[in-house]
């Protein structure tokens, strides 16, 4: 659409601008403020320069949390994106199955995050939970509160349960926007199922899939509530992802300076990755 140049449009944006600035800029300035100072309580501060940033960037605790975070995000993207596409491809296209699938699949998305954690906690408990009990009955030695490997497995399974539907819904919407003529042409050409997917469906889903990856990256990188309720970051620190570690530092130990510095580094990483994706997405949009 060709847009008119109109500087008065700013007036329309003012309410949003004020609300978000009020919410984002002021707290963010507080964080920046803390990140360069040492606090002695009672509002006494001393200038610390970049000390906290250096400390965080060199601390093993931060490296470990970042490593866990990257591993977690990478694994869930690797599972959720292909699985989501696969389910979307096999979903019914018309009839009574469509609303049934849509409603049931959206359910996990609308459950408060701590309820998701609590639900998976009682679902996975080795003695009284269905998952834990079944795995132990099958002969696996499963206990997610004590074994790091099991804790990871449960956290990842929970996230797959919680968020794959988002990928499914996005991919499904992308598939639905393909005109039947494309499929007819493919059939006339005698294209295989794989070729149809590779050259028709996948390119048409590119936009929604970029969005799905972007959203899943952002949200999994910020994950806090679900693993916090499920495992509390344990056993030990093995499932303490960045947000869990950060909240522990800021609200638990009240190390405001290092926590603020960590917040900024954290935010910067998310921002950087999202900026790259956003540009990719806008480029795609401009092409289509």
């Amino acid at each position: 659409m060709n847009k008119t140049i109109n500087q008065k449009a700013w007036f329309f944006v003012i309410p949003v601008f004020v609300l978000v600035a009020f919410n984002a800029a002021i707290p963010l300035m507080t964080v920046v403020n803390y990140s360069f100072q040492e606090t002695f309580g009672n509002n006494v501060f001393a200038w610390e320069g970049t000390r906290w940033f250096k400390q965080i960037l060199q601390s093993e605790r931060f490296h470990a949390a970042l490593g866990r975070q990257i591993a977690f995000t990478f694994i869930i993207l690797l599972i959720q994106i292909p699985l989501g596409i696969g389910i979307a491809l096999t979903m019914p296209k018309k009839g009574w199955g469509v609303p049934v699938c849509l409603i049931l699949m959206s359910m996990p998305l609308l459950i408060p995050w701590n309820v998701v954690g609590a639900m998976w906690n009682i679902f996975a408990l080795p003695d009284i939970g269905f998952l834990g009990h079944s795995l132990n009955a099958m002969g696996f030695d499963y206990n997610f509160t004590q074994q790091p490997g099991d804790a990871w497995f449960t956290t990842i399974l929970m996230d797959v349960w919680h968020w794959t539907s988002l990928v499914v819904l996005l991919a499904y919407a992308g598939l639905n926007s393909i005109q039947p003529a494309y499929y007819q042409a493919a059939e006339i050409d005698g294209a295989s199922r794989w070729a149809t997917f590779r050259y028709i469906e996948l390119p048409k889903m590119k936009k929604v899939l970029t969005l799905a990856i972007l959203l899943r990256f952002m949200d999994s990188f910020m994950i806090y509530t679900e693993p916090f309720v499920l495992t509390g970051g344990g056993p030990g620190n093995t499932t303490a992802f960045l947000s869990i570690d950060l909240v522990k530092m800021a609200l638990g130990q009240f190390d405001l300076g290092p926590a603020a510095a960590m917040s900024l580094i954290y935010f910067f990483i998310v921002l950087l990755v999202c900026w790259v994706f956003y540009n990719l997405m806008m480029k795609n949009e401009a092409q289509s």
Binding site: V16, I26, V31, G86, I122, F130, Y224, Y278
Partner: protein, 266 residues
């Protein structure tokens, strides 16, 4: 091969329903039964967990608090986002692209980063422990989302609609509310759905910004888990009840969901 296609979504849905079933199963058991026996369905069926929630004000007020701030937030987000999304979809203005990306960055900000400053900020303006504080703090991620979704829907409406209305002598306000808003009603529905959803499921900020008067149901649940032992039955019943508002909302917007996602903006 084609004959067994239905198997994949069916298995997936079964996988989705299992933990939910387990939660509901637990909610109809007594806590003693949960701890002592493993069973696929309640041996001694009881509704006492639900009775407790509906008669104890700390429990049911939690629901009322959660719904209150979620509704506040949805109304504020959509009301503020409507004119902004219109501006982004129709006009070019100084810094529009930067502003749009800046808005989106707030959807990307980890809430954990904002928890402490929010607590201090809302305490200093005497809004701590009010519904409006939670509603305003959720604007952080819901307004950018609302602007993003609405802009997608508005851009799909041809500009000729605006021009014809002006030629017919409509003022901007009358055009906007009488013609434009009804045209994108589906989009507004979707936007409200997502604002409701993200405000309903968020806990970190809601918990940080409240103590007693506006405490969300989700926070009430975590408290009960730690103080009075581990009342699993009660916890399960409370959890089951938090699924219901979401299920109702999904039912109403089911026809729009696919369409909303098709816009590629969520």
């Amino acid at each position: 091969m084609k004959k067994y296609k239905w198997l994949v979504p069916t298995l997936y849905i079964i996988f989705l329903m299992l933990p939910i079933y387990w939660l509901i199963n637990m909610s109809f058991k007594t806590t003693t039964e949960i701890i002592n026996t493993y069973s696929l369905w309640p041996q001694k069926f009881t509704t006492e967990n639900y009775v407790k929630i509906f008669t104890d004000s700390t429990w049911y007020m939690g629901y009322i608090n959660s719904i209150t701030y979620t509704v506040f937030n949805t109304v504020i987000s959509v009301a503020a986002a409507l004119p902004a999304a219109y501006a982004f979809s129709r006009y070019k203005f100084l810094g529009d692209k930067h502003l749009f990306f800046w808005l989106l960055t707030n959807r990307m900000a980890p809430p954990a980063v904002f928890a402490l400053p929010f607590f201090q900020f809302y305490s200093s303006v005497n809004l701590f422990d009010t519904h409006i504080a939670v509603a305003l703090s959720h604007c952080l991620f819901n307004i950018p989302l609302a602007v993003w979704i609405l802009e997608g829907f508005m851009s799909a409406v041809p500009k000729e609609l605006d021009e014809t209305a002006y030629v017919d002598g409509y003022s901007f306000g009358r055009f906007f509310f009488k013609i434009f808003v009804p045209t994108i009603a589906a989009g507004i529905g979707i936007t409200m759905f997502f604002c409701f959803m993200f405000s309903w499921v968020e806990l970190l900020l809601a918990k940080t910004l409240t103590a007693t008067a506006a405490k969300p149901i989700a926070a009430t649940m975590t408290r009960t888990a730690s103080t009075s032992g581990y009342e699993l039955g009660l916890l399960a019943a409370a959890g089951t009840l938090t699924i219901i508002p979401g299920a109702i909302v999904i039912y109403f917007v089911k026809n729009y969901i696919a369409k909303g996602f098709a816009m590629g903006r969520v």
